[in-house]
């Protein structure tokens, strides 16, 4: 039997997990539900909660609940949940771990590998963070594929005739548009464009701002500082948005929203679809502009497109359909559920990687141009930071390109290589994604040849190497998250931390055949919790020892070997005793 690889759509607002079973793609349900809201929270017993329960808790305890974490992926920041700081990767890992457990309960065996989808316009840093989240969750991310591509794959698998498809993917936090050619069993992305910070959340925010303005104008209240009221307003705005997808008006009612000068403040406000559409007009215009950029990238006009596929919950906004109809002259498709088709495509790709026969093969492109900077001319002027594109936007993945550069002065021993992502001829206007030095070059006259190789892998991640041609002196880096470096040790401790948070939950829906914790294991888990509580107060050395022991204990629990569990537990207890005394 082939190894099981699951397909995961890790969305801003909702997440899903799917697999291919007996040749059929299937979105796995949890308590009858295919969609897991991407909410994470801590309940009053300190237990972790994911999905529906966490979303409900958000209203009452916003300070103990995290939503839309995907928008922060790839940034070097921490979010606060119930008084503890977490990296975005860790919160995403909690969602992934839950999805993993849902899939394991379905297939009744452990799962360690996944294909995870990311927005096509996700940057290198955001992709890296997603991979790290997988690692923390105990999932080897065998491939990251782009969301619109996954959707096209879900549609394309069943297509017999050649089709040019436009995938319009507007999710909770990101927007992507891709032009795809489906022909002879190959789903070939021709071009891709997008915005990695535009989505339904922005629409909600417009309504939230509108409500806040209304409250301050009519009641003289500033609700911004009241986190509970703000959470209720956010939820009310979301609901209003959903109602406006079907109705021309919505009545927004929240009684006893907050107290102001001793009196209760009620919210009651009517919002029309027309007003709402005006609020979000700029966002919609931006998406239509992106559609045209993608068409241009594929050298197409709207008339070349045979079908439009809508992906993501935000495409339910009626004015989006109208605008696309005006541009293309026909109605978009949505036969496959726009919430599920991305996970389905991910599962199809997972099946293909695990060696199963699948109907459609995927060829994807990068939405970014990658290059470096060098001495050159810009607008006719001598300029030291001219952008030299090496891998161009809409190049098929994987791709490897080499360029030769020369040193600029005699005896130059060091070359500073900076890698940029963007389209601007001035490198400084592009996004700097990595930088490294090649040192110890030969002491020769200027013109020493240095070759620079950019290697963009199937995950859309960049690997860079540079070589002094004459000596073969080489330097290579993987463009890691240039902004947030999540070091390996940090990953390990995050893994342990998340594992412990999950301790009880996992025991509850333990996969078939696994027994509940023995007293011995329960004792060990308590020890782990104790040890982690001490993390903040201990030296790095002690912390590392504890992390190692915690890992030993966890391996022992998984392997069911009580001798090793005993031994590691005793050692950990000793350290804790020493630290506490």
């Amino acid at each position: 039997m082939n190894e099981i690889i699951i397909g995961i759509d890790l969305g801003t607002t909702n997440s899903e997990v799917a697999i291919v079973e007996n040749g059929q793609v299937r979105v796995i349900t949890d308590n009858g539900k295919k969609i897991l809201p991407s909410f994470v929270g801590i309940d009053d017993q300190g237990q972790i909660m994911v999905g529906e329960a966490a979303r409900n808790q958000y209203l009452v305890y916003p300070e103990r609940t995290i939503k839309s974490i995907k928008r922060l992926m790839g940034q070097d920041i921490q979010v606060d949940m119930a008084g503890h700081a977490y990296a975005p990767q860790e919160i995403s890992a909690i969602i992934l771990k839950r999805l993993k457990a849902i899939a394991e309960a379905h297939v009744k065996q452990p799962i360690t590998k996944a294909v995870i989808t990311v927005p096509a316009y996700f940057s290198d840093a955001q992709r890296q963070a997603t991979r790290e989240a997988g690692e923390i969750a105990g999932l080897d991310v065998v491939r990251m594929i782009n969301e619109p591509t996954a959707a096209a794959l879900a549609y394309g698998a069943s297509q017999a005739d050649r089709k040019h498809m436009l995938v319009y993917d507007l999710g909770g936090g990101t927007f992507d548009v891709s032009v795809v050619n489906i022909q002879a069993g190959v789903v070939e992305v021709l071009s891709s464009h997008g915005d990695n910070h535009l989505g339904g959340d922005d629409f909600d925010q417009q309504i939230v701002d509108h409500i806040l303005d209304h409250l301050s104008e009519t009641k003289g209240v500033d609700a911004r500082s009241n986190s509970k009221a703000l959470a209720r307003i956010t939820r009310a705005a979301e609901n209003a948005k959903l109602v406006l997808s079907d109705q021309p008006f919505v009545q927004i009612e929240e009684e006893y929203l907050l107290e102001h000068e001793g009196a209760a403040v009620h919210l009651s406000l009517e919002l029309s679809r027309m007003d709402y559409e005006e609020m979000i007009a700029d966002y919609i215009n931006a998406t239509i502009d992106a559609v045209h950029i993608a068409l241009k990238g594929a050298k197409f006009t709207p008339a070349d497109i045979d079908e439009i596929v809508l992906v993501g919950g935000s495409t339910r906004t009626p004015c989006i359909r109208e605008r696309l109809f005006n541009e293309f002259g026909f109605e978009p498709h949505s036969e496959v559920d726009p919430d599920l088709c991305v996970a389905m495509g991910a599962a199809t790709q997972a099946a293909m990687i695990s060696g199963q026969n699948v109907d459609a093969v995927l060829v994807d492109v990068t939405p970014y141009t990658y290059g470096t900077s060098a001495l050159g001319y810009l607008d006719g002027e001598y300029y030291p930071h001219t952008f030299i594109p090496i891998i161009h936007k809409n190049t098929a993945l994987p791709n490897r390109k080499t360029e030769a550069f020369m040193t600029t002065y005699d005896g130059q021993e060091i070359v500073d290589v900076t890698i940029y992502q963007g389209e601007d001829p001035d490198a400084l206007n592009n996004i700097k994604i990595g930088e490294f030095l090649i040192e110890g070059l030969q002491d020769v006259a200027q013109g020493n040849i240095i070759t620079l190789t950019l290697d963009l892998d199937l995950n859309g991640m960049l690997h860079v190497s540079a070589q002094e041609k004459a000596t073969g002196l080489e330097k290579s880096i993987t463009i890691k998250n240039a902004i947030s470096r999540f070091e390996h040790a940090a990953l390990d401790s995050a893994k342990t931390r998340i594992n412990t948070l999950f301790g009880q939950l996992e025991a509850e829906d333990a996969i078939a055949g696994q027994n509940a914790d023995t007293p011995e294991i329960a004792e060990a888990r308590k020890l782990i919790a104790k040890a982690e509580a001490l993390f903040d107060k201990t030296s790095d050395e002690d912390k590392e020892d504890m992390i190692d022991l915690i890992e030993e204990i966890q391996t022992a629990i998984e392997a069911g070997s009580s001798d090793e569990l005993q031994a590691a537990s005793v050692k950990l207890a000793d350290i804790i005793y020493y630290l506490e005394s």
């Binding site: 022909q183 002879a184 069993g185 190959v186 093969v361 995927l362 098929a396 994987p398 490897r400 199937l458």
Partner: protein, 112 residues
């Protein structure tokens, strides 16, 4: 070193759509997820010869059989020298791909 035509297993006279078909068939056979090296080879072969401009460029700069110098010598050794206008130059480029000899088509057109 295989030529792009050999990699995609298409005739040199193949049309754009035949080349595309051959490319897709190869991709289906060697998906990027299974054999990255093979896919890159197939893809770059396709990129080179996917349209007439690409095929002409390839014929000019990579095609060993199209001896451009010989063709030019032939052209210049004609009794009535051809005037190198844009149309004629275009013909010269195409000759390398389609006919491999320039002489057969040149004199008649040159006089017109």
């Amino acid at each position: 070193m295989k030529t792009p035509y050999e990699i995609l297993e298409v005739a040199e006279q193949a049309t754009d759509s035949e080349i595309k078909q051959a490319y897709l068939q190869k991709v289906k056979q060697y998906p990027p997820d299974r054999d990255q090296g093979m896919f890159q080879q197939i893809h770059s072969a396709y990129e080179i010869i996917k349209d007439i401009t690409g095929r002409e460029k390839y014929a000019l700069f990579n095609y060993p059989e199209a001896d451009f110098n010989a063709l030019l010598d032939q052209a210049f050794s004609l009794a009535e020298p051809a005037i190198m206008n844009a149309e004629l130059f275009d013909k010269l480029l195409r000759a390398g791909i389609d006919d491999k000899t320039f002489l057969t088509t040149l004199p008649a057109k040159a006089k017109s």
